[in-house]
């Protein structure tokens, strides 16, 4: 409880996240110092690697696409007062939906297959989120534990599916057949193959972009972010989701059924996480690869916390993490002493300071502010 009142809106929305980010980066800088490298130099290499070239930007945006989806997934659940740690599993299972549609309906023209594959990604992810939602709403199981368990179940299940059902006979790598193909010389697009921007620009303009997996899904992610904003603040369902999250008793008073909202929200959340499959499976790797999610589901937690669960904040935070991922890769090339996992350290610190220690600097900031105002 603050004796003097709350911080102003903008400080709450922008200053605290930035301050927490700075602290997280400072601590990361200390880790770099321990390794015996210069934090400033490391930061410079990361920045240059991520935003100093078109290639850097392409990778940055490609990574952000994943993080926008998983960040939105976590945020939507947050708004209903739910903590969905299961984005990782939901995205993984969604890959199955995307791949099965791509492989099974390969004979259909791409304007039909791609939307179907997108839909199936969302539906598979939604299902994997809905089940824990159902178990919480109807059976009282705690969503955090259930979604953690579902990550592991998904992981085993997918090894099974890829190994026993999707891996072509005789192929060593644990991955499915390609979900489609694109021949840019003839503009011949088959299956659920979403071409990269590089391929598209070659096919349409004959212009050669630097190689990167960036594909139109990035624009789709921006549209989805807008849709989530619309859902939460411009629809009745969104109102109900936020009401349940903010005050369940008041929601019940208003005739909203929290159980229904929990299930619906978890399905939406899972569906959003599932869209990661569109970027990765359809757009980047064009096949289902073992462990393809690679922790993006967990990055979503950091992104949602950093972005204050608002789609605009999430897009910005996702780009920041895109920068860290791309910059981190460049850094590990330029300085092998600093492993790429440095990003994971930063991620952990961001979650720690943004999420669990969020209030640490608040009293201090408030004191500062009110003294300034006196």
């Amino acid at each position: 409880m603050s004796a003097r009142g709350e911080l102003r809106g903008w400080a709450d929305v922008a200053l605290i996240p930035v301050l927490n980010l700075v602290v997280a980066l400072l601590v990361s800088g200390i880790v770099v110092l321990i390794i015996g490298e210069s934090p400033m130099e490391a930061m410079w290499i990361m920045l240059k690697g991520a935003v100093g070239s078109i290639k850097g930007w392409s990778y940055l945006l490609y990574y952000s696409t994943n993080f926008i989806f998983t960040g939105l997934a976590v945020a939507v659940a947050f708004h209903a007062g739910l903590f969905n740690i299961g984005g990782e599993g939901q995205a993984y299972i969604a890959g199955l939906g995307a791949t099965m549609t791509g492989l099974g309906l390969e004979f259909l023209p791409w304007p039909i297959v791609i939307p179907l594959a997108v839909l199936m990604s969302a539906l598979f992810g939604a299902f994997w989120g809905w089940v824990p939602g159902y178990l919480q709403a109807k059976r009282g199981s705690h969503i955090v534990i259930t979604t953690i368990m579902f990550n592991f179940i998904a992981s085993s299940l997918m090894v099974y599916f890829i190994n026993y059902w999707l891996r072509p006979v005789g192929k060593m790598a644990v991955e499915s057949r390609a979900v489609g193909n694109f021949d840019f010389s003839t503009f011949d697009l088959t299956g659920a193959y979403i071409p990269s921007l590089r391929e598209l620009s070659l096919a349409i303009f004959g212009y050669r972009l630097p190689s990167s997996p960036l594909n139109p899904t990035f624009l789709f992610a921006l549209a989805v972010a807008w849709a989530v904003w619309y859902l939460l603040w411009r629809t009745k369902l969104g109102y109900e989701i936020r009401a349940v999250g903010a005050n369940t008793d008041a929601a019940v008073y208003a005739g909203i059924r929290p159980q229904k909202i929990i299930m619906v929200t978890m399905a939406i959340s899972g569906g959003l996480a599932g869209l990661l499959a569109v970027n990765e499976v359809l757009g980047a790797q064009h096949r289902l690869v073992l462990e393809y999610v690679q922790g993006a589901g967990f990055v979503g937690i950091a992104v949602a916390l950093m972005g204050r669960s608002h789609p605009v904040g999430i897009v910005l935070a996702a780009m920041l993490f895109g920068l860290l991922y791309q910059g981190g890769t460049e850094l590990s090339f330029a300085k092998p002493e600093i492993n790429r996992d440095m990003i994971v350290v930063i991620q952990g610190l961001v979650i720690l300071f943004m999420g669990a220690l969020e209030q640490t600097f608040r009293p201090w900031l408030e004191a500062l502010f009110f003294r300034a105002e006196d």
Binding site: H142, I145, I153, V345, G348, L349, I351, A356, L357
Partner: protein, 321 residues
């Protein structure tokens, strides 16, 4: 067939695989019985495994490795304690952060110190907790039946026997000591503890510290006894499986032992059944691997029995009601 399912080798490996689960499960038990949810068991074990393997690689001393691992794990536990107790932060978020921090730091530091991409060098036997043959039992190895039993219970490391001893100790301490009584009370109703004039924060810090120590031992076991070096993500979800076992055990020490042995057995079988065919059909091991998690989900949903967590777990304590 019987040899495959219940042979000395299977059961002995069940025990080996159960040890880290039991330690982490007891860590979770102490923490959660005091009202602090600990998703960060995995991270604490991982960083401890790394600390142990690094120390052992530098100084060739297993006991020193254990000591350093416990220190490091306790350090991480204190971060969690500070976030959960002083800052009243979200305990799940804090746990997730600890897991990431541990996973990242271990690889980054390991890469810098040993230049093997996050691995630590293979440890010599002085630097490890090696199997010890219990006196008197090795002579029995070739005796029928008794020999099997002897081979199951002998030939484990010091840490294994320590772990087994910790189970009754935990059960006894919780049930019979003042500390145990207060700790159980603080996880159920911290207000009752506070009005009795006992510090809630102090009790919870003690619990978090115990969890740190136990995860430290678990990590040491994983990198210096179960294997002979640290590799990235080597805890492989054991912290979460321990949480599952904790739910299965209904937050009690003895049932925790059985649940961990069961999960350890499933892990052992998962490895041993790889590629084995029954009547011409191969059972995909993935289904055995996911069994502990599926069982936990089913149990949590109340389809079989009911598991009731400590009432105050995960809820930050504030005086005002």
């Amino acid at each position: 067939m019987l040899e495959l399912f219940l042979g000395a080798e299977t059961l002995s490996s069940t025990i080996r695989l159960s040890v880290p689960l039991i330690l982490a499960c007891l860590a979770g038990l102490w923490s959660e019985r005091s009202g602090i949810v600990d998703i960060g068991l995995e991270g604490k074990m991982l960083i401890a495994a790394f600390a142990a393997a690094s120390t052992a690689a530098f100084y060739n001393n297993a006991l020193l490795a254990l000591f350093v691992a416990i220190l490091v794990s306790v350090g991480f536990a204190l971060v969690h304690g500070y976030a959960a107790i002083n800052q009243r932060g979200n305990q799940v978020v804090s746990g997730v952060a600890i897991n990431m921090l541990a996973a990242g730091l271990a690889v980054v530091l390991g890469n810098e110190w040993f230049k093997e991409g996050g691995r630590t060098p293979a440890l010599s036997s002085e630097a490890r907790f090696m199997p010890i043959d219990l006196p008197g039992l090795s002579e029995l190895y070739n005796v029928p039946v008794l020999g099997v039993v002897a081979r199951i219970i002998s030939g484990h490391s010091l840490l294994t026997y320590l772990t087994i001893a910790l189970v009754p100790l935990t059960a006894w301490a919780l049930a019979r000591t003042r500390f145990g009584l207060r700790l159980r009370a603080v996880g159920e109703n911290p207000h009752a503890v506070d009005t009795a004039g006992i510090s809630v924060a102090r009790l919870r810090y003690q619990a978090v510290l115990i969890a740190g120590v136990l995860c430290g031992i678990a990590g040491t076991y994983i990198s210096t006894s179960l294997s002979a070096s640290f590799v990235r993500d080597m805890t492989a979800g054991r912290g979460f499986m321990a949480l599952a076992a904790l739910i299965f055990a209904n937050w009690r020490a003895w049932p925790a032992l059985w649940a961990c042995l069961l999960f350890g057995y499933l892990q052992a079988m998962g490895t041993r059944l790889q590629g084995v065919k029954f009547a011409g059909v191969e059972i995909p091991v993935q289904f055995i691997n996911m069994l502990p998690y599926v069982m936990t989900v089913v149990l949590l949903a109340g389809f079989i029995g009911k598991s009731i967590p400590p009432k105050a777990s995960g809820i930050p304590y504030t005086k005002d009601r």
